[in-house]
Symmetry: C2
Subunit: 271 residues, 2 copies
């Protein structure tokens, strides 16, 4: 799958591309049930909220076949090969749970800020692909983005180790206020929160400023974040465990477009 000229222009201007309906109901049903099983496991890759609810599961593509197929999926990999003009590898793989009632905030940040500071990634030639496993609603802790903020490079940030269970390089309020004001249309709001059905996909620039609020509703909001990095731009510091910031820089060879569908069918036959 390739991005259209219009999508490339929108990505350049706004810093993100939203693609509803990228995965089918059957593909998502498989991924959702696998994600729920993984988030229920006690293992080092599954981090928990301060309440004990699952917060994020790392590296599921290394121990789960459905997520291995997703991380190699041409609908996700090929657009990034196209954008970076070279092969890509998996830098990070997270299933963020944003559990019903307990999913906590992710403060305002740029992902590349962490990849640069913690992992020594040379350039922001990596990006996040968010795959919605549940319906993302305005009320269940949707991802919020500040359009155009990717054009400001890597902004000053402080290392927040206390707000949630996950340490993060976060931006100060004045910076967020300024970027939102710059992004706002006249009299409008400079923050967007794409919502949509399971199977929707959101690709966003490594420097795009984003956050997500707590989820106080009964509706879970699971999103997979697949981070793909240009192979020539691989990380150079290994401060974080290799199941958080991967050290296998082998170029991804995409699977067939129907690989997830066939795997879901095979699982159903076996069941």
């Amino acid at each position: 799958m390739k991005l259209t000229t219009e999508q490339l222009r929108a990505f350049d201007e706004q810093g993100y591309v939203f693609m509803p309906g990228c995965f089918s109901d059957a593909e998502v049903a498989l991924l959702r049930s696998e994600a729920e099983a993984i988030l229920g496991q006690r293992r080092q890759e599954v981090w928990r909220e301060k309440t004990g609810a699952p917060r994020t599961a790392f590296a599921a593509h290394t121990y789960n076949e459905a997520f291995r197929l997703m991380a190699h999926h041409p609908r996700l990999v090929e657009p990034l090969q196209q954008l970076f003009g070279e092969p890509v590898y998996v830098h990070q793989f997270k299933i963020n749970a944003k559990a019903a009632f307990e999913g906590d905030v992710w403060q305002w940040h740029q992902d590349y800020g962490t990849w640069a500071r913690d992992d020594g990634m040379p350039e922001p030639r990596a990006m996040n692909i968010a795959i919605f496993l549940d319906e993302v609603l305005p009320i269940n802790g949707p991802l919020m983005l500040i359009p155009k903020s990717h054009r400001h490079g890597t902004l000053m940030a402080g290392h927040d180790r206390s707000t949630t269970s996950y340490p993060l390089w976060t931006l100060d309020n004045d910076t967020v206020r300024r970027l939102a004001a710059e992004a706002a249309p006249a009299g409008g709001v400079g923050i967007v929160a794409p919502t949509g059905r399971p199977g929707s996909v959101l690709m966003f620039h490594g420097n795009l400023v984003h956050a997500s609020p707590p989820n106080i509703t009964p509706y879970p909001r699971k999103i997979v974040y697949l981070t793909l990095c240009a192979v020539s731009n691989h990380i150079t510091r290994f401060n974080r465990p290799d199941w958080i910031a991967h050290r296998d820089f082998t170029p991804i060879v995409p699977v067939e477009d129907d690989a997830l569908t066939r795997y879901a069918q095979a699982r159903q036959v076996a069941a």
Copy 2:
């Protein structure tokens, strides 16, 4: 102002009535600037978040002329006289700040649960009228309601004194999940979050289950909550300070419909 037959039917079925554009830009501009001044004051009626940001200001109608006029406004008072079939008095008056970046959660609760348990209010013949002073967006901590939940009477609740700076009788997650499931259309979501411009008004039943998430955006979301109670249903226990749960049961005599507009004009001339 009187509610229409259609509004009365919707209130009975859904537990709330939303009225966009109830107050004009000029009326709201006055109220917003007065609210900001009050929230900046150090006084016992202004409660703060754990961060120090203003959370809620009580009883502003007793020490501010603009809010005195609002608490006596016919667009708010007359619909409740109509609903209760008798005169009403002010049981509580709050300006909830939901400050930019710092406005914290209000957990799931019923207001009448507190009025009954803490104040000895005999029946749920009082209700909240929310007047939007800022634009309420999906992203800045909107009020969330569970439609039809007012039909379940007063539900079991626990007294939460730790989550925020404000003690509240809150519902457990299983109850919220069940009520939302009952309210949901087939395949849909059983929670609504009315959004709209400043000057919009939301009236909701004292037993309607509601909550609001934290505000992590640069956009403040100030709402006035005017609680009017049928005079014959006045409270019978005086556990809380009289600037939180008022003890003056004098029936409200509404002011003229243009009282706020004229006061705003007079202030501008004087300025």
